[in-house]
């Protein structure tokens, strides 16, 4: 391909791009085509922006001098332009970028507004672009189109515009969705790969023809497309990693990865040629030439594209081999951990309908599911000695706010077991109909689903009754077998629980 050799030409992707711009020939027998549906969907993406622009209810009187659409375009531009390696865009970054525009409108209207108004205006625009009203869910735009049989069909287009993501420092940063980048770069309806090829070809052409100012704009587009492609590859790797069991690996995922790797390799090659050509031209320009800044900007932007593609290349290179190896071993960690789950309606709802004891065991069991790993506290002798040698803390005299205690908070006695556990244990022991070993009762109690606390309380009650020959609680306890109790959590002498009226068989110690 010519483009691969660094000369201006469209490669196969470019040809596909040109072909995609040509609609299918009109056919009287087919009044609608899927191409029209695609174009319809392109137009629908502007709907939330126009709604924000036109809706009077969201425009404060103080904000009338500002043009919402211009501010939205500025937001998009700031996020694309300032997101890079080592720099992230936050709400504050966007506000700073928009301030000169807001001030210019203030001056032009003779209605100066303070920083609070500026920040309110931008907060409102950012909130709308993130769709905060719907908890940052995708926008949903209903539309109608026709299927292949010519029947009308209702559809809903779902897409995001501005998203919040975790940045490198753990903070929240702004990112444009793929759709928003497309909207901004006028690249809707094209495959991202085609759009990248086209953009880079245009940069190359403009450089060859000395149109450096135009090349800056094209390089910015190429940079935006490289961000969009990065998001696509990240998503691809994530999905492959998660759904390796469900994917037709040989036919689909492997092919996708191979294509992606080849595409990135081609981009790196083309970008290298663009950079070499641009740097050569820069060297040949006089120091005073006013085209130098434009050319330097093109070089900066293309270097960023190249760096992004290099990082993608690093991820894609080992990905194929690694995933194939994991699949061969059928031990891909993510796939054995993850499963599609409806946390609210299939888990929380089910748990809520469980009996309280069963639900408690389910939720308060081991695993620390929603808390993450936490290192256990270890005894630190040095810290302990230091604490013991500390001077007595001065007691502060004066007024200290005291919380009102409620009746149910004033239980002064420190008890090991809850009332519920003690009652369960007592009921269990009172329910013994015939002589039984404590070890047997422990097993029955656990099998009945009683909590560990109730089992422990039962054992302690039984031990406390040991030697009470009067059988005041309705049963007596006597030794059954020395060191004969061997349970998971309990060891020691096994005893008989004998309901009143039954004979006690005494066993002499071994």
């Amino acid at each position: 391909m010519a483009a691969n050799q660094g000369q201006f030409d469209f490669d196969s992707g470019g040809r596909r791009l040109l072909e995609s711009l040509t609609d299918a020939p009109f056919s009287p027998t087919r009044p609608w085509s899927q191409q029209l549906t695609r174009r319809q969907r392109v137009l629908l993406h502007i709907e939330p922006i126009l709604r924000l622009y036109r809706q009077p209810g969201t425009r404060d009187d103080r904000h009338l001098q500002y043009d919402t659409l211009a501010l939205i375009v500025k937001v998009f531009d700031t996020v694309i332009d300032q997101t890079g390696f080592g720099s992230e865009v936050t709400d504050e970054t966007v506000l700073e970028a928009a301030k000169p525009l807001l001030k210019a409108w203030d001056e032009a209207s003779g209605n100066p507004a303070g920083p609070d108004v500026h920040s309110d205006v931008m907060a409102r625009i950012l909130a709308e672009l993130k769709n905060e009203r719907e908890r940052q869910e995708p926008f949903e735009v209903p539309y109608q189109a026709f299927d292949d049989a010519g029947d009308p069909r209702r559809h809903v287009l779902r897409f995001k515009l501005l998203m919040e993501q975790f940045g490198y420092d753990g903070g929240i940063v702004l990112r444009l969705s793929s759709e928003a980048i497309n909207l901004f770069l006028n690249a809707f309806g094209l495959d991202i790969e085609d759009a990248q090829v086209a953009n880079e070809a245009v940069v190359q052409s403009q450089l060859e023809r000395g149109k450096f100012n135009e090349a800056v704009q094209s390089a910015q587009n190429a940079r935006g497309q490289s961000m969009r492609y990065e998001a696509k590859i990240r998503w691809l790797l994530l999905q492959i990693g998660r759904d390796i069991d469900r994917i037709d690996w040989r036919g689909e995922a492997d092919g996708l990865l191979r294509e992606a790797l080849e595409h990135v390799q081609r981009r790196l090659h083309v970008e290298d040629n663009i950079l070499r050509s641009a740097e050569e031209k820069l060297d040949n320009l006089a120091e005073s030439d006013d085209r130098r800044p434009s050319l330097a900007e093109v070089i900066r932007l293309m270097k960023e594209c190249q760096r992004r593609h290099l990082l993608l290349h690093e991820q894609l290179m080992p990905a194929r081999g690694e995933y194939l190896r994991q699949q061969a071993r059928q031990a891909f960690v993510a796939s054995r951990i993850r499963q599609s789950v409806d946390l609210r309606d299939a888990v929380l709802r089910d748990v809520l309908q469980q009996p309280r004891l069963a639900a408690t065991e389910l939720l308060d069991g081991p695993g620390g599911m929603f808390l993450g790993p936490l290192p256990p506290a270890l005894l630190n002798i040095r810290a302990l000695v230091h604490w013991q040698l500390m001077p007595k803390r001065q007691s502060s005299k004066g007024l200290v706010p005291v919380d009102d205690l409620e009746l149910n908070q004033t239980d002064g006695s420190e008890r090991r077991f809850s009332d519920e556990a003690v009652q369960t244990a007592a009921e269990f022991l009172a329910g013994v109909q015939e002589k039984a070993r404590l070890s047997t009762l422990i097993g029955s109690c656990e099998a009945a689903g009683h909590a560990n606390d109730s089992v422990d309380a039962m054992i302690l009650q039984a031990i406390r009754t040991f030697g009470d020959d009067a059988g005041g609680l309705g049963y007596r306890v006597d030794i059954a077998e020395m060191a004969g109790l061997h349970q998971t959590r309990h060891h020691g002498d096994d005893v008989w629980i004998v309901p009143n009226g039954e004979e006690v068989t005494r066993v002499e110690p071994a």
Binding site: G170, I172, I337, V341, V351, P366, G368, G372
Partner: protein, 261 residues
């Protein structure tokens, strides 16, 4: 031998960074370097994975934003929802603690597709009322399905047969003490305690500049829920509900790695 020892020390160091909830590769060049080695070198990666496995930890995600771990059931690093309240809690309090931990996650990820989203996509913040609302809404829906029998609830309470939703319903959302402070028995107060605790553990950050306070999940929490906890709890619930012990919900890997499998 000394090389192996140094490698092991580096692997341990990386796990130590991962166990510190607020450590960020962005701020720690050493952490960043160890992560790069983890990504670049298969032998080092294998050593870290083996060490984590021995400690009862699962590596959920390794990226330039950090190494994210999850505890296995038998790990010394595992905690229970009620652990931070100490041992002096009633059975119902333990239940509420568990329900609230689950409801916080369910409020952030209410639908299946939310859990399948990219972990880097930050979920919007939640408030205490949002979490309480999730639970009250479900409780109301379950209540509507129940046959209405006068005094049935009291009888079932006497027999200790209440279901979990009834325990939650029995607690008020708000209650104030005589001095106007939030009562520790109200569900709002318990949710607040849990969210504050999650903030201490690096799972949430609190945005306190406005009313009400908004709690935003961190990447650590999202990875934990999306990559481990949701599935783990789902399977546990299915095992409890299904007559076959949830066999149908276990993956091929789990079946083959089970004793005798």
């Amino acid at each position: 031998m000394s090389n192996l020892r140094e490698e092991a020390a580096r692997a341990g160091r990386l796990i130590q960074f991962a166990l510190q909830p607020k450590a960020m590769p962005f701020d720690e060049p050493e952490y960043r370097d160890l992560l790069r080695q983890y990504e670049d070198r298969a032998d080092f990666r294998s050593l870290v994975q083996g060490m984590a496995e021995g400690l009862g930890l699962t590596i959920l995600l390794a990226s330039e934003r950090g190494l994210f771990l999850g505890p296995r059931d038998d790990s010394v690093f595992a905690q229970t929802p009620s652990e931070f309240r100490g041992p002096q809690v009633s059975g119902d309090d333990r239940l509420l603690d568990g329900l609230i931990e689950l409801a916080i996650a369910a409020t952030l990820f209410p639908r299946q597709r939310d859990l399948e989203d990219d972990v880097l996509a930050a979920r919007p913040p939640v408030t205490i009322a949002d979490v309480d609302g999730t639970l009250r809404e479900l409780v109301e829906a379950i209540k509507q399905q129940q046959p209405t029998e006068p005094d049935a609830d009291a009888d079932r309470l006497d027999q200790g047969l209440w279901e979990a939703w009834q325990v939650y319903e029995s607690r008020p959302s708000h209650r104030r003490t005589g001095t106007g402070r939030a009562s520790s028995n109200s569900t709002f107060r318990i949710i607040e305690q849990h969210l504050d605790r999650l903030c201490e553990l690096g799972c949430f950050t609190a945005e306190r500049q406005g009313e009400p306070v908004r709690y935003r999940p961190t990447l650590r929490y999202q990875v934990l829920v999306q990559e481990l906890a949701a599935t783990h709890l789902y399977r546990r619930v299915q095992e409890a509900l299904q007559p076959d012990g949830g066999e149908a919900h276990r993956t091929e890997f789990e079946r083959s790695s089970a004793p005798g499998g």
